[in-house]
C-alpha cells in the first residue's frame, strides 16, 4: 500500500533540528525526512505536538549562554512552515485520554499519537519503543525502512 501521509512523533522532528546521540536514531530520522520530500507525504500530528516539540527544543537550548538566536528560531519556523501539517484531535477529554493510555499501555503524551494513527489509519514515524510496541500489538503500521 502506498503511504501518502504519516503521523510524526515529536522526537523525529526534534532530531532534524538537533542531532540525537545515537547514530541509528539520526539515520532513521533522516530517512523519514527523505520519504516526506520524495513522496510529498502529508504529516499528521496530535494537538499537543507544538508544545511537546517546543518543550524538548527548550531543554536542548536552555543551557546556551545567549538564549535562542534569531537564525535558529527562524530555521525552526521555516521548516515548520514547509511541512504539510494536519493537526488531529481524537481524544477530547481527560477520561478518554486516561482510558486509552491504560488500554494501549502508553504515556498520556504518547497516547494521542497512537490513537490518532489508529483512528485515521496512518503509519507512525517514531523511535519510541512504547509506541512501536503498541503498533505491533494493536495492528498499527510502524513507518520504517
Amino acid at each position: 500500500m502506498t503511504v501518502t501521509a504519516i503521523v510524526l512523533d515529536c522526537n523525529v522532528f526534534v532530531n532534524w533540528m538537533h542531532p540525537p546521540k545515537e547514530l541509528a536514531a539520526k539515520e532513521y530520522s533522516d530517512w523519514v525526512l527523505r520519504q516526506i520530500i520524495e513522496h510529498d507525504l502529508q504529516v499528521w500530528v496530535p494537538y499537543h505536538w507544538d508544545i511537546e516539540v517546543a518543550g524538548v527544543l527548550r531543554g536542548i537550548q536552555k543551557n546556551r549562554a545567549h538564549g535562542y538566536s534569531f537564525e535558529w528560531l527562524n530555521g525552526v519556523g521555516s521548516y515548520l512552515s514547509a511541512l504539510d501539517i494536519n493537526e488531529g484531535w481524537t481524544l477530547n477529554n481527560i477520561p478518554d485520554i486516561l482510558v486509552a493510555a491504560e488500554h494501549f499501555n502508553l504515556s498520556c503524551a504518547d497516547t494521542p499519537y497512537f490513537h490518532l494513527a489508529q483512528t485515521i489509519r496512518l503509519p507512525v514515524a517514531t523511535l519510541d519503543s512504547g509506541l512501536i510496541a503498541a503498533c505491533s500489538r494493536f495492528g498499527v503500521e510502524h513507518f520504517h525502512p
Binding site: 541509528a24 530517512w31 520530500i37 484531535w89 477530547n92 485515521i120 505491533s136
Partner: protein, 96 residues
Amino acid sequence: MPIDAPHLAEPKVEYSHRIVDGEGHERVAEGSARTELRSGDTLVVRRRPLMAPAERKAILRRLLAETENRRAPDPLPEGYESAAEALARVRERYDR
C-alpha cells in the same frame, strides 16, 4: 531576555477546521472548535503552507542536507547498529 524574532508574527500558514464524527460525517467547526467536540469526534485542523510546493520542497531539502551533513554529537565509536538493525531489534522484542 526578549526574543528578537519579528518573523514569528508573519503569517506563513492559514488554518481550516472541521470535525469528523465517529461515523465519518463531517461538519465545519465554527467559533471555538474545541467546545464543539464530543467523545468520538475527530477535530482536524489543516495548516495550509502559504508557499508554493517547489519552495516548500527546497526548504525541506536544505534541512535534509543539513541533517545529513551533521554528525551526531556523541556517535557510537564502532560496531554501532544501523537504524534498520536497531528498529528490527525493538520490533522483534515486541512482536514476540
